[in-house]
């Protein structure tokens, strides 16, 4: 054989048409998903694991021609169920942040403001922990930008129930925090 053969190039192509769509959704939804999972009580690493699992499942779903309707709600529902499967961790209260951690968050602001921020956060944290699990979940999904219908799909409850639950939860928080 002569020595001037052309360089060998692997004929790489996209694994499927779902790959680019998954990547786009990943960029858009990764942060809200992480935040949702961490606020549910998972550690940062656990949340990261769940997010990776969710996007693997999403990739398979899209590659096999699965429905793309309301994909945001679908992604959150899978993440929610994955978090539920980690039941022992999931039972923890809403990210109960310690005083030391709150100090770390308010680092860099003036001492007076830091004290105020810390007090406000502690008060809010207490109020959040007094909510029912369903109220917390609805609030978290709302804060992630989901519509009531999508929240209902994630949690398996009616849209009207989401409406009532959110109404109750926000009123409780407003009352407890005296805002």
């Amino acid at each position: 054989m002569s020595g001037d053969a052309a360089p060998v190039a692997l004929p790489l192509s996209r694994l499927s048409t779902g790959a680019s769509e998954t990547t786009k959704l990943y960029r858009e939804l990764r942060k809200p998903l992480l935040r949702y999972l961490v606020c549910l009580g998972l550690s940062g690493d656990e949340a990261q694991d769940v997010v990776q699992d969710v996007f693997l499942i999403l990739h398979r779903h899209l590659a096999s021609g699965g429905s793309q309707e309301n994909i945001r709600g679908w992604v959150f529902r899978v993440a929610h169920n994955q978090a539920r499967n980690r039941q022992n961790r999931y039972d923890r209260n809403f990210s109960a942040a310690s005083e030391a951690e709150m100090d770390a968050v308010s680092h860099g602001v003036t001492p007076e403001r830091a004290v105020l921020e810390k007090e406000k956060f502690q008060q809010l944290g207490k109020a959040i922990r007094l909510l029912t699990a369903s109220e917390r979940e609805c609030l978290l999904l709302r804060a992630s930008g989901l519509r009531y219908r999508e929240i209902g799909e994630v949690l398996g409850i009616a849209t009207s129930t989401v409406n009532d639950t959110l109404d109750r939860a926000i009123k409780k928080l407003a009352e407890k925090c005296n805002v």
Partner: protein, 211 residues
């Protein structure tokens, strides 16, 4: 309590049908109590949002074992690919038992070492633009050779394996722009002796070797 009290949060979230939303807006113009409630709901929603952001700040993922397990799996996959490539030239490389021990002779797109001086015992090749794969050939006597000469042959063809990480992994498994370099050492009998994979980030591999 005002009759509209139960609709204010849904109105804030734009979840009311257009007709009901208009009713709420007309009501808000005349009811200061509901306006104050709406402001309070807005504030508490903002604070809840900030609390969630703080929670994620406090629980930043550290990137654990799983990510590196994925990278290790990738390394395995790339190693298998490289081994597959090496299987082809291997059958064409004459066994050193039939040749003078001082000269390594290879005849394939991957390994070309003909007409070298008798003292040369190793060939090291680097691609002209990008060190995607570096192949070194050693014959049986290389270990005892007193001096080794390196020959740069930048214009020669070589195995080029480019595997973007995002083709092999789920999004987020490896940082963006990462790909892999393979250093392959081929033993005298043509088999892959050693394979080393080095992950690289785009922008850090631009050392150009001019011909």
């Amino acid at each position: 309590m005002c009759d509209f009290s139960g609709k204010l949060i849904a109105w804030l979230d734009r979840e009311l049908p257009a007709e009901e939303a208009s009713e709420v807006e007309r009501h808000l113009e005349v009811c200061s109590e509901c306006r104050a409630d709406v402001d309070a709901y807005k504030r508490v929603s903002g604070e809840f949002d900030a609390y969630c952001d703080a929670a994620i700040l406090l629980n930043k993922p550290r990137g654990g074992l799983r990510r590196w397990a994925a990278v290790a799996a990738a390394a395995g996959a790339v190693a298998a690919l490289v081994a597959l490539f090496l299987a082809m030239p291997r059958t064409r490389v004459p066994s050193p038992a039939f040749h003078p021990p001082q000269v390594a002779v290879a005849d394939s797109p991957a390994v070309v070492a003909a007409a070298l001086p008798a003292s040369v015992t190793s060939i090291r090749r680097v691609h002209r633009r990008q060190s995607v794969a570096r192949v070194s050939v050693q014959n049986a006597s290389s270990a005892s050779a007193p001096a080794q000469a390196n020959y740069m042959q930048p214009d020669e063809p070589m195995i080029q394996i480019a595997i973007p990480a995002d083709e092999m992994f789920p999004p987020g498994a490896v940082p963006e722009g990462m790909h892999f370099f393979a250093d392959v050492t081929i033993a005298a009998d043509g088999s892959a002796e050693r394979l080393r994979l080095r992950p690289r980030l785009a922008g850090f591999e631009r050392r150009v070797t001019q011909p």
